[in-house]
Amino acid sequence: MNTLTLLDAINAALAWELAHDDNVVLFGEDIGKNGGVFRATLGLQERFGEQRVLDAPLAETQIAGMAIGMAAQGLRPVCEIQFAGFMYSTFDHLINHAARLRHRTRGRLSCPMVLRTPVGGGIHAPEHHGESPEAWLAHTPGLKVVSPSSPARAYGLLLAAIRDPDPVIFLEPTRLYRLLKEPVADNGEALPLGAAFTLREGCDVTLVSWGASVLETLQAAEQLAEQGVSAEVIDVASLKPLDMPTILASVAKTGRCVIVHEAARQCGVGAEIAANLASEGLMSLLAPVERVTGFDTPLPLARLEDEYLPSVARILAAVERVRAY
């Protein structure tokens, strides 16, 4: 079993599907010879040819639109948007078409496409290069939305996304691309979409997160353990559909919940989780639900970027508050 970065894992999953399904086609800006600006598609054009791995003209609306046309024809298009900040012009296609094609035609046509894009801050790139768009997407009926937080989950979830018969938005945490390595069996085995992963069991507080913030969440849990506080850590992984049963079961056990995400707070996915806790989970709650999130401001430019992102300290402070309650 090779030890892979998250980027390697994505490359391996794409290669696996290209090798095993002729209907899989990759396209996006600079993904061919250049292998993508992060090199997620490195070597794939060389290996699978220019008909299967294509450099698209610089037009995101068109990239999404054409994915829909291909998918309706039974291909399995996997398109890349170079950075999430440039995906807003795809929203019309995602909301009005990709998410609705099956519904609109009563199943006559469908849209098994994947849209991959790097998300999240912390790499000190220029403006618009660190956006966290998951809430907009999770609010869109008909989409599935996934964000992995480890190489192995990236591999398995990306395979699942490509094989899924419906449109899946695959959000890759840029900050994790090269940060961690772990052994990943490149065996074509997918992980289920729509299921959260409990990364650490605990009984005092439930910490819920996804994407890059899982890192700080795990670090916080580690520090809490040193203080004798037992935190359960859930990686939501699927933002849509959302695996509330796993979260509710955990909070039923711990009575306390801190949700951590980078995206702006208002109407973020954290709000949806907290809202469910306020309805189905109310009687479990021993303390207010805390959200440790990005502020309701744009992600600042590089110099202040780290001040915006949920830090271990902010997570610990929130845990402190819910425990002191």
Partner: protein
């Protein structure tokens, strides 16, 4: 200043406004036009019926294609069954030609999703309401054909107004860069709701927009069925043999209101409409067919009666269609219903006493 590039936008017309044929297109067989004429007349009858149904509260908002029958039927009549059409809401003639049933269209315009589940051309796209968005899809469909080396073409239609949307240019440009089998048909009916084409753009023709993408662009008289079939036919052929996409502008006129929810008298002069009636495609083709002795008054009467009967039968079928089940709010959203949605579905059915 040396010109570094030069372009011409060709114009095609064969039949003049009186149905007089100056010189025919290559390989022209006048009797080929009989089924085309019938389909155009049926389209007109269907439009009238749909508007009548709407006026009597039996249909929702409906966009008539009155006056545009040569474009819609013309383009479909030169396509092959295995080609794929990506239509706007005003392509009734094309959809009927390709096998969509009248009942399905009525269902759709009554607000019933089953209307887009055509029994007929299973791979054709449903009607696109968001203007020009279908252009992007067409490029994807064209890509799939090229990828599989199938000699098929994606035909996408859009209006004069739609040419102002970026989607259209992005699609043409990508189709051009990748030399994909896509034909873009711009139906210039001179109005986009209340905005006349001359205010939509400073471009003298819509055909010249193809130059931006480096692909062929031609204009034709969209009320001349011969011109429409010739231009689009050639574009289809180019696409089919691997010569890439084209844009064909068909100049016609929207004789009706924008939709039944619109009152065009608010914004356009009646004499413009009257003048346009003199150019309309159905009478023009009839004159030609009559001149050619291919059509008689008797034929016409029979046709009108047949069309009336067909349209009424379709309306009756449509009106007799039982409603969709409540659960269909959920049933087609995903291949497999996620658990959270299953709960919402159950909630609705329970509330409405259906579970």
């Amino acid at each position: 200043m040396i010109p570094i590039a030069e372009f011409r936008v060709p114009y095609t017309r064969f039949l003049d406004a009186h149905g007089h044929l100056a010189s025919p297109p290559p390989d022209f067989q006048p009797h080929d036009l009989l089924p085309v004429y019938r389909a155009m007349a049926l389209t007109r009858a269907f439009d009238a019926k749909a508007v009548a149904l709407q006026r009597t509260g039996q249909l929702r908002t409906y966009p008539s294609s009155l006056g545009q029958e040569a474009v819609t039927v013309g383009l479909a009549s030169v396509m092959r069954a295995e080609d794929v059409l990506l239509p706007t809401y005003r392509e009734t003639g094309a959809m009927l030609w390709r096998g969509v049933r009248m009942q399905e269209l009525l269902l759709y315009w009554s607000g019933d999703e089953r209307g887009s589940d055509f029994a007929g051309p299973r791979e054709d796209f449903p009607i696109a309401v968001p203007i020009a968005s279908q252009c992007g899809h067409a490029v994807g469909v064209g890509f799939a054909f090229q990828y599989r080396r199938q000699p098929r073409v994606a035909v996408v239609t859009l209006g004069d107004g739609a040419t102002s949307k970026g989607d259209f240019y992005e699609a043409m440009n990508t189709a051009g860069a990748w030399r994909l089998p896509v034909v873009f048909v711009v139906t210039n009916n001179q109005w986009a709701i209340s905005l006349p084409a001359r205010k939509q753009t400073a471009a003298a023709t819509f055909a010249q927009k193809a130059i931006a993408a480096g692909i062929p662009g031609e204009q034709c008289d969209g009320n001349d069925i011969l011109a429409v079939r010739d231009c689009i036919g050639r574009a289809l052929e180019r696409a089919r043999v691997g010569d890439g996409p084209s844009l064909i502008e068909c100049v016609t006129y929207r004789l009706s209101d924008h939709t039944t929810a619109d009152d065009a008298r608010r914004y356009r002069a009646q004499d413009e409409v009257s003048a346009a009636w003199a150019l309309e495609p159905l009478a023009r083709l009839r004159h030609f067919l009559v001149d050619q002795k291919l059509w008689s008054k008797q034929d016409e009467e029979t046709l009108l009666a047949d069309n009336q009967a067909a349209v009424s039968a379709a309306a009756a079928d449509y009106l007799a269609t039982p409603p969709q089940a409540l659960s269909t709010l959920f049933d087609y959203l995903y291949a497999e219903l996620p658990a959270d949605l299953a709960a919402q579905r159950q909630q609705l059915l329970t509330e409405r006493g259906q579970a």
